[in-house]
Symmetry: C2
Subunit: 448 residues, 2 copies
């Protein structure tokens, strides 16, 4: 807002709508009751005697507390996380993928960001002759570029195919790899599926191709799968890298190194504030594993309350349990709403001349491509801003809608985008989309 104020324009809106961050509950999404009941019981075990809490929630809480030091969320857990929660995560993965998962390979984390940062730190610090290259999609979630830069590694960009609904093309991986080999040692390949900011859901075939490529090139695969529950297109399904890896047979499943990430923050729970997450690591070299354990133990442990939240994400009420019906209703309501808003956003953006928006197959963002006239590009340069930053600042100034310019995520030279969440309630989202439309048309006229 400070930079906006610098532009010296009056503010013709009454409310700032923060469509810039994937924070569902901040936009009014209600927590899943069961999760909060279990968390309250764990927090204040006196409530275990209260008749106002369902028995299945009490059962979950007792199980978690029994695995905590002193039966309390206030004790440190093992650095890797509470045992029974890691077991629940492994059981969840086994159910999801139909292939076994080992609790020993599960590490609970302080949100997915923490897991990604930690594993990248270890993979990059190998200390070879040339610097380590880390391949990331463009557009990407900026955690990746920030961590790579912090670690003094080399960011190797591969471009997602906007014309093909942001698909990942393995030939583009090859191109990026070959170029990178001239100046660094590419060791890690990061994938975000479903995509952030791009919202695509990778096909099974594409995941196979990527795994084969990683196997060929001996790359460590890093699969950011925090949006695994956020799939809206009826033609799309989430396939985990772990599952596909195992289904490709032992040559792959016993050789390709993989870390995959999940979180309490997204899905239908939207519990960002608890900073819960896990990573599963497969085929980790024993030496790397040793370093990982050492690094984690210095950091003591992830927040135990976030671990407990993660437990409920992977172990929600099952059919037949007392809380199941309410849980099912709440879950379907959140996901149904998101699916409606995904379609609505795509449709309304595509009605606007000069905006093109790929289908929002998953995740919780639109990443429309916007046409910025050359006069606006010049005006932006005069303000020493990227053109899409200039656009987003004007949008904020004139409508109060806060979105993130595409340049924050990376995009093909000469193209412009912004990322907008689909998290505002339906009616508010309609208002947002109408305001963006009016703004965009006015913007095109102004800089024609």
């Amino acid at each position: 807002m400070q930079r906006a104020a610098l532009l010296g324009i009056k503010k013709p809106f009454t409310e700032v709508i923060r469509a810039n961050i994937g924070d569902a509950q901040a936009m009014g999404q209600q927590p899943i009751t069961f999760l909060r009941q279990v968390m309250a019981l764990c927090t204040y075990p006196n409530l275990l005697d209260s008749p106002s809490f369902p028995e299945d929630a009490k059962k979950r809480a007792r199980r978690i507390l029994q695995a905590c030091g002193g039966n309390s969320l206030g004790s440190y857990s093992a650095s890797q996380g509470v045992n029974c929660i890691r077991e629940d995560v492994a059981a969840y993965i086994s159910r999801r993928d139909g292939v076994p998962a080992d609790p020993d390979n599960i590490y609970l984390t302080t949100g997915a960001s923490d897991g990604i940062t930690t594993i990248l730190k270890i993979l990059v610090s190998g200390g070879g002759k040339s610097r380590t290259g880390v391949m990331i999609p463009i557009p990407q979630y900026p955690l990746y570029s920030a961590v790579i830069s912090e670690l003094d590694a080399i960011q190797v960009n591969y471009y997602l195919d906007e014309e093909n609904c942001w698909a990942l093309n393995v030939n583009e991986l090859r191109r990026a790899m070959q170029e990178a080999r001239n100046h660094c040692d590419p060791k890690v390949l990061c994938i975000i599926n479903p995509g952030n900011p791009t919202g695509q859901v990778q096909s099974r075939k594409c995941i196979e191709d990527v795994i084969h490529f990683a196997w060929e090139e001996k790359l460590f695969l890093l699969a950011d799968e925090v949006y695994q529950d956020n799939v809206y297109s009826p033609d799309c399904r989430f396939h985990s890298f772990k599952k596909v890896l195992y289904e490709m047979g032992p040559e792959y499943s016993s050789n390709v190194e993989l870390a995959s990430f999940h979180s309490t923050s997204k899905g239908y729970m939207g519990e960002c504030g608890y900073r819960g997450g896990y990573m599963e690591v497969i085929n980790l070299h024993p030496e790397i594993k040793g370093q990982l354990v050492k690094l984690l133990s210095v950091r003591l442990c992830p927040p135990v309350s976030g671990q407990a939240a993660m437990d409920i994400v992977v172990n929600p009420p099952a059919p037949g349990e007392e809380s199941f019906e309410q849980f099912r209703r709440e879950k379907e309501s959140v996901l149904g709403n998101l699916a409606t808003k995904a379609k609505l956003t795509e449709d309304l953006f595509n009605e606007v001349p000069g905006i093109h928006c790929n289908p929002l197959q998953g995740a919780m963002y639109a990443f429309p491509r916007i046409f910025i006239p050359s006069k606006a590009v010049e005006a932006a340069q005069a303000h020493k801003m990227a053109p899409d930053m200039f656009y987003c600042m004007k949008l904020l100034e004139e409508t109060g809608i806060c979105v993130v310019p595409g340049s924050g995520f990376g995009q093909r030279e000469g193209t412009y985008h912004f990322r907008m969440t689909i998290l505002p309630p339906v009616e508010k989202l309609k208002t947002v989309l109408r305001k963006v439309k009016d703004f965009h048309i006015k913007f095109l006229e102004q800089y024609a």
Copy 2:
């Protein structure tokens, strides 16, 4: 336990007593009721209608929730932390020190470890000609050495004076500084007060000397004050670096850069699992502050539940409030117990021939010096272990008592120590001390 098993000795005990980690609730300390009540109310706001929760707890919970996005602990907070909690921290510091504190200088963190790691990362990445030196006490809490090594900075040891109850002598700081100047650029001075693992409480005079030294040498002061509520010796008082800095006058208070740290994990609350903490930074260079904000924003935010716990640590029930009496009783019971155990531990250790233990003025550890006969030193070498590691492994093997060898913290060459918490309940602690005594006497005989 695995290494112990390698020694191939049978285990003549029925229980492992983990006196190796400062985890109060894991050793049976009960949470402070008020803190957990507020946390439960924040977690599951339906409880705000329940008559079984006191009004002052509800008031606190409402205040916290109103400051959270969507009135929920499940939303991200600002990276620096929830505004009203930073205000409460600032108010606490002002009350504690009698000098003003600015909420803008408060950063909520994922425990103190996270704050220390973050600020060190920024201070070390200055990028001068020679590598950055970070002065740390020996013995130290191993987070410091680990982070310094991770950041590729230089660890500059200054030795605490065991003969003088682990006091910090400014002449020793000077010596360490002069030596370090030959091979690095010392920029940061870390102090742990009350001391971990050493349990001393710094005198006001000593703090003044240290501040004057930092002012002279333009060092960034890093004051780890997580044990500020854990002072047991009637002759000792906790003085914060911030307070002394301000009382020394504007020449100091407007120039010396200081970051101080506090946590939910220690004190009388002992809420380790929530990973709550804060740091206050004074006189931070605007450029450094900019880097700090950038680094924090990549990490999203500290767990909001931990932030809420921190709020109660700094803003407990006040006299006249409904919950005050119970809170006062619980607090006094925890701290009274710790004081009893501190004295008991000192006294019983000093009855053992070959063990010398300084007074446990504060914190929650004993760090006794142990005599290890030369035959035992040789035996340790044969096992490729540090002598005190050998001692601690034998202690574990023979008694089930788990303590940490002094070599993990650093100690003067040729001296040996271990760190033991005073957290087991009184009767169990007596048993522990008796067992250590018997073990030590036997050990001396065995290796005479």
